[in-house]
Every structure is written in C-alpha cells, then in structure tokens.
C-alpha cells in the first residue's frame, strides 16, 4: 500500500458521487434468458413442452423450485417453494433435478453466439449476459435493431428466447430485463432516475442489505422515487443509511460506474495443469496440486494479497467435474499447499482417471506482513518461501522443485 500520495483536499464520498460525470454515450445491453433451466429441459425433451414442469434445486424435501413452466404456475406453484410442499400440493407436476452441466453448456453456447456482436461480454449467473455495445451505432445502426438481432441470433442458434434491456450502465439495463415484459426496452441516457422512480425499492441491489431493507420498510418507502427525494437532504440521508448512503444514493439515481468485464479480465489467479496422460495415481495428483499451489502462492506474494476464495476443480476423463471452494489465509507455500491439498482430497471422490486440475483464486484482500518477535512456524515457512522465490526469479519457476513434484512432472 502506498501511503505517500496525498491531496490537500479532504475526501467526501457523497460529494464525490454528486460530482461524478457519467458517460451518457455508453450502450450497455443486458440479455436475460428467462427460465433458462426450463427452456433447456424442453429443448432436450420436447415432450415437456405442454406439461407442467418445475426444476428443483435438490430432490431433498428442503430443496426449492428454481424454474417452472406457466402450466405449473397455474397449479399454484411458485419460485422458491419447498419440494416437500410441492409434493403435497401437486402430483401432476413433473419435478426435474437441477442439471448444472446442461445449463452450463447452454450458457457457454449462448456466450459464443453473442460474442460475435462484441468482444466485451460478461456472463451474469447462468441466464444473463452484459454486452458493452458502446460505439457500435455507427456500424450496426440503431441499438434497438441490434438488440433484436441478438435475440434472433440466440433464437436461431439455440431455440432459446430472451429479453434485452438497454441503457447507459449495467445497473439500469439489468433492472430493465427484470421488470419490463417486452422483448426489448431502451432507457435513454439521462432518463435513468425517471425510469426507476415508480419501481419498488427492492430492484436496487443495496436495498437487499438487511439494515437498509428494514429501515425502508419502517419508513414506508414503497417506490424508488421516495429514496430519490430523500437523497436531496444529504446529511439526513447519511445519518439514516450510514455506510450504505453513498451507494444507495447512486443506485436510486440510476448511476453505476462498473464496467462490463469479460471473464478473461476478471481479477483472479488461474493455474491449470492438463495431464499429458490421464491418471488416478494419488501421489502424482498430489504432486500436481502442490506444484499448482506453489504457483498460486508465488503470484499472491507478488501482489501482497490474500484470496478469500480459492476454487479447486478436477476434470475427469469421462467429462465429469468436481470442485471445492476454500480460503487462503497465509501466502507462504506451506499454507497455500495445505489449503489446496485439503480441497483436492475433498473434491476427488471418484475413482476415474483425472485429466485436468485447476486452481482459481479470487476475491483478494490486502496481505499485511506483520513482523513477529519470536520465530514461529508461519514466519519460518514465509522465510523459506521467500528464499526459494529468489532462486526461481533468477533461474525460472521450474529451476527449484521438491522431489515429489519433480518426479510427478517427470512421470506425467
């Protein structure tokens, strides 16, 4: 952390928000494939097209409905309803388990289809995509025509139907697709606040924070327009909403400065090994995990960051995939290896041979190198990691390896 760059002016976040200049020339599209899970199941099995169907998160009684057909809705079912209640209420509805790999495949296919319109595409969950179409008017003409072309393209390529929301930022575009039933709807630049004003406050992400939600319910705030009028009194607004005040004020005005970030630009550390020869030899796999973990640790040390989320994925030769998620609390090699090894042992519950192991670290936060009075195991491990690092920086990453990694990499 650099601590020397100072300005003479005191920093005020609310003033900062007010004076922020938003670019009204941007065209941000949000594509939402409504009830994607249901649409995907009906493509795979056309026999489901006219039947009442509900996709459930788990067949367990505590599982809930994730997606459902209009026919099922007519029977009184709704999103989030518990499986135990569904089973009691309706015997005619076909309950389908959540098919993660099918929806992921469909998502990837749609992603490829719409990537031809712009290289700046950001997937949002399994059924949404942001597209940055800024500057495309000169090439593709009116944005609404472009939106329709995208929807037609998805329809042609995948038989899936979707809706498009267009505005100058991601926030408003996403809200458009969640509240407007038409296939395409555009909010012109400068009209964001007007568009949001009649909507319920829950459309704003910050309102989903418990303290904000409770306070708004207590104040009988039923429309975004009420929040917009409260923003006019910044001191009172700040007193009421505290740390949420800046973000809530921006959202109520329809302001959002976040950019459309393609997956390849997401801030993460990704290390992957594709085994030249598929194997289920645990010694080899452990060595590969160790090698990957050391590389992740090296990058974390360079960034002076810890990762609040680390995901270890195992891809088997039969196409199945298992993963586990954890947290990296120390950036010396030993700590990272221990976390990754534990995740691997938990995830590797199949006997099949492994083709690929992948470690993805993200959600970074600053690492503090707090000096210790006494030599501890952690400080000793850190000293060893730094010593090894010096050699690797000079002679290359593979210049110094432990025997098991050397042997495993030699064998595979």
């Amino acid at each position: 952390m650099g601590l020397n760059a100072w300005s003479s002016e005191p920093f005020n976040p609310l003033e900062f928000t007010v004076s922020f200049v938003f670019n009204n020339d941007q065209d941000i599209f949000h594509i939402r494939l409504k009830e994607l899970e249901l649409q995907a199941e009906r493509i795979v099995d056309p026999g489901l097209k006219t039947r009442p169907v509900a996709i459930i998160s788990s067949p367990h009684p505590s599982g809930t409905i994730v997606s459902l057909s209009p026919e099922a809705e007519e029977e009184g079912l709704f999103h989030g309803m518990k499986v135990s209640i569904v089973r009691k209420m309706s015997h005619g509805v076909q309950l389908l388990p959540y098919n993660q790999s099918l929806y992921a495949k469909v998502n990837r296919y749609v992603y490829q289809s719409i990537s031809m319109f712009t290289p700046i595409v950001e997937p949002e969950g399994v059924d949404g995509f942001y597209l940055d179409m800024s500057g495309m008017r000169a090439i593709r003409g009116h944005v609404q025509n472009t939106g329709l072309s995208i929807i037609h393209r998805i329809q042609e390529q995948t038989s899936l139907s979707g809706v498009v929301g267009i505005s100058v930022n991601k926030l408003v575009s996403r809200i458009v697709t969640s509240v407007v039933p038409e296939t395409i709807h555009e909010v012109q630049g400068g009209n964001e606040a007007k568009f949001l004003s009649p909507l319920k406050p829950l459309v704003l992400p910050t309102v989903k924070e418990k303290p904000v939600h409770r306070l708004l319910r207590f104040l009988w705030v039923e429309q975004v327009s009420h929040i917009q009028s409260m923003v006019g009194q910044p001191d009172e607004f700040r007193t009421l909403f505290g740390m949420f005040s800046v973000q809530l004020a921006r959202e109520a005005k329809g302001q959002d400065s976040s950019i459309v970030k393609p997956p390849q630009l997401r801030d993460h550390i990704l290390e992957q090994t594709v085994l030249p020869e598929d194997t289920n030899d645990e010694m080899v796999l452990h060595a590969i995990v160790k090698d990957l973990a050391e590389q992740v640790a090296f990058k974390l040390r360079k960034r002076h960051q810890l990762a609040d989320k680390v995901r270890l994925e195992i891809h088997y030769t039969d196409g199945h995939q298992r993963h586990r998620v954890g947290k990296i609390k120390g950036i010396d090699d030993s700590s990272v290896i221990a976390v990754c090894r534990r995740l691997f042992d938990k995830a590797n519950e199949r006997r099949n041979r492994v083709r690929t192991i992948l470690i993805d670290a993200c959600e970074f936060r600053p690492y503090v190198d707090q000096a210790n009075l006494f030599m501890t195991e952690a400080s000793r491990n850190m000293a060893v990691s730094k010593a090894v690092e010096k050699v690797r920086l000079k002679y290359g990453v593979r210049s110094l390896q432990t025997a098991d990694v050397f042997q495993a990499l030699g064998r595979v």
Binding site: M1, F11, H304, R365, A371, F374
Partner: protein
C-alpha cells in the same frame, strides 16, 4: 440444609461467582454453585476447572449441609427479587426451595459430592502483595496477552518474583510488555509462574483494599481477598526468552505528547483498511505524521503531531489497534519511542518513569510495501 440471608449479599456473591461458570460445558455440574453451610461459615463456590471462585456470605443458619444449585437460575431469581430475606432449604432428596416474602420457588439441586473438589494447595508459599500494586501490574500487562490457544504459554502473564522485586511480562508475539516493581517485598520467595488471562481479568474487576495474599503452589495460585478466594491453575509451559528480543541498540528517539499522539492515531485509524488496520508513522526532526490509506474504500487520512525526532527521517508501519493499545498504556504525559529500522521492534516508554517502576513496551512493525 436451611439458612436465610439477605438478597443483596447473595446477589453480590453470585455475580462474582458467575465469572467462573462456563457458558457451555460437557459437565452439567459446572453450571451449579456449591453451597456449603457449617456452624462457622457459609460459602459459595463455582468453577470452570481453570478458575475457582469462593465467596463467603453472612447467614442465619438453622441446619448445616451442602448442595449444588444451578447458578444461573439462582442469580436470575435473585436479580428479580426486591430487597428481602431469602430462605434456602434443601431436603435429603435434593429438593430445594427458595422462600421469600414474594413467593416460594422450588427447584432440583444436585448432590454436593458431584461438585469438583478444590485442588490441593498444601505446600504453597504465601506472598502478600498490596492490592493497588497487583492491580497496577495486571492493568499494565494483561492487554498484550495472546488469545491464541495454540500458543498456551502466551495466554498468560509471566510473573518473575525475586529479591529484586516483581517483573510481569506478557506478549502475543507482535508486542511485548515488561513491567517491574522494585518496591515489592517477596519475603524470600523466588520463582516464575504464568498466570492465565481469566484470573487476571477477574482480579482487575475486584475492588481490593489492603493486601492480597497469594498462595503460590506447584500447579495452582490462590488469591485471598478478604473472605473471598480465587484459585487458578498455573500455565505449565515454557515462556519464550523475552530478554533476547528486547533491542539494545535503538538509536532513533521520538518524544511527543502522549495524548496528542494517541488522539491522532485514533482519528486516522478510522480511515484505515478494516482488515489490515495499517497506519504509517512518518518521522521528521520536528513532527510525526500519521497516515493511512484504504484503496478499497477510497479513503485516506493524515495528521501531524509536534514531536522531537532524533535521527534520520523514518517511515514505519503499524497495526493501528496494537499501536493504540501500546501508546495508551504508557504512563505520564510524555512518550518516548526508540526506533532502529522500519522492520525492527520499537521500544515505547514514558519520559518520566515512576519511582521504583520500570515499564517497557515493544511493538513489531508491519512491513510497508514499496
């Protein structure tokens, strides 16, 4: 067993004893208070097996006996009662009754022999310590005790008693406090013991007048305050060699007004990163600038305090929470901090040391990224 006592006496004793009751335990008996009534005295005792507290209450005794009653229930009902006499009876089938003017409350007691016995403290050596001195020592050192149960030796304060006085040392690995009182008379006793944090925290909350008798045994320490008794186990671990980490050649000295420096650190640290609490001290000949920056929240702060700095300009990073603790515990108005480099321990002390007292605090820095 049957006796009556005043509500206030019972309430005060139970409040003391509640500090030794575990919130969750696999032994249900530990949630009880042992009441023992004899012709001589009536005592109440509670334990969590680490610390045992015993209090004596004045009673009008009708029948001697012993029983164990749920402490929380007894304390709750006592708290709710107005000032009145309380009569407690327990029959031979462990049915207890609390009889007051307001009403009668029945509950089941547990046999007294299920309650853990007091550890054997025979052979202990007696040392008398003035109450205010003991509280000063605990107050000066207990803040730096570690909470990490994986480092048991650091979860208590080391007391080193010798003919030269008493030295108390605590550390959590990032900071260290050494507090010596030369005016302490050990009556020939010499030795070391690591006293757990819980015992020290309890002693700090007690109003002590006069001397406290410490009975120092092989594995236990007992403190007698008036008619009350507190017993704790002694941590049977080797305390790290603290003398070897106290720097001897810190050649850069900062002198500043303690309250001004502490106030500035407190204000600036509000804007520091919530996970790192990182602040930096930038020292020049005539001032000390405290700065912080949190890129995640786009917040930063700086404040300048008048100071005398003897040495080349130095920037050093600290965890603001540790720094506030250490500066706050320096006695007097003027603080003296001795530095060596930006990655080595700094020594914090008072410019005007109290008579017969030596206080030294060490704080390890945070390595600042370039």
């Amino acid at each position: 067993m049957k006796f009556s006592t005043s509500k206030t006496e019972l309430q005060q004793a139970l409040q003391k004893l509640s500090k030794a009751t575990p919130t969750r335990s696999t032994l249900p008996i530990l949630g009880c208070v042992l009441i023992e009534s004899t012709e001589e005295k009536t005592t109440l005792r509670a334990t969590d097996l680490e610390i045992t507290i015993q209090a004596e209450i004045p009673v009008s005794l009708e029948q001697a006996g012993a029983t164990a009653l749920p402490l929380k229930t007894l304390l709750d009902i006592t708290n709710e009662l107005p000032e009145t006499r309380i009569t407690l009876t327990v029959d031979d089938k462990d049915r207890a009754a609390i009889i007051t003017d307001a009403g009668e409350y029945d509950l089941m007691a547990k046999p007294a022999d299920e309650f853990p016995a007091v550890p054997d403290t025979s052979g202990s050596q007696k040392v008398d310590v003035p109450g205010d001195m003991l509280k000063n020592i605990i107050g000066a050192t207990s803040f730096a005790v570690s909470r990490d149960e994986l480092k048991p030796a650091l979860t208590g304060v080391l007391f080193r008693i010798s003919s030269a006085g008493i030295t108390a040392v605590s550390t959590d690995g990032h900071r260290l406090v050494k507090y010596t009182r030369k005016d302490f008379n050990a009556n020939g006793f010499t030795g070391d013991m690591i006293v757990p944090r819980k015992f020290l925290a309890f002693m700090l909350t007690q109003s002590i007048t006069g001397d406290v008798s410490l009975l120092i045994g092989e594995n236990h320490l007992t403190a007698k305050i008036g008619n009350d008794m507190v017993l704790t186990r002694i941590i049977d671990e080797r305390f790290p060699d603290y003398e070897s980490v106290i720097p001897k050649e810190n050649d850069k000295t900062l002198k500043a007004d303690k309250n001004a420096l502490l106030g500035a650190i407190r204000r600036v640290s509000i804007f520091s990163n919530k996970s790192t609490h990182q602040v930096a001290l930038n020292m020049e000949a005539t001032f000390c600038k405290i700065t912080t920056e949190d890129p995640e929240k786009s917040s930063k702060a700086q404040e300048q305090v008048a100071a005398e700095f003897d040495g080349e300009a130095l920037t050093i990073g600290y965890n603001a929470d540790y720094l506030k603790d250490v500066v706050n515990h320096v006695s007097g108005d003027k603080i003296v901090v001795e530095f060596s480099t930006s990655i080595s321990a700094a020594l914090f002390s008072s410019e005007n040391a109290e008579e017969n007292t030596e206080s030294l605090m060490l704080l390890m820095p945070i390595r600042l990224n370039d």
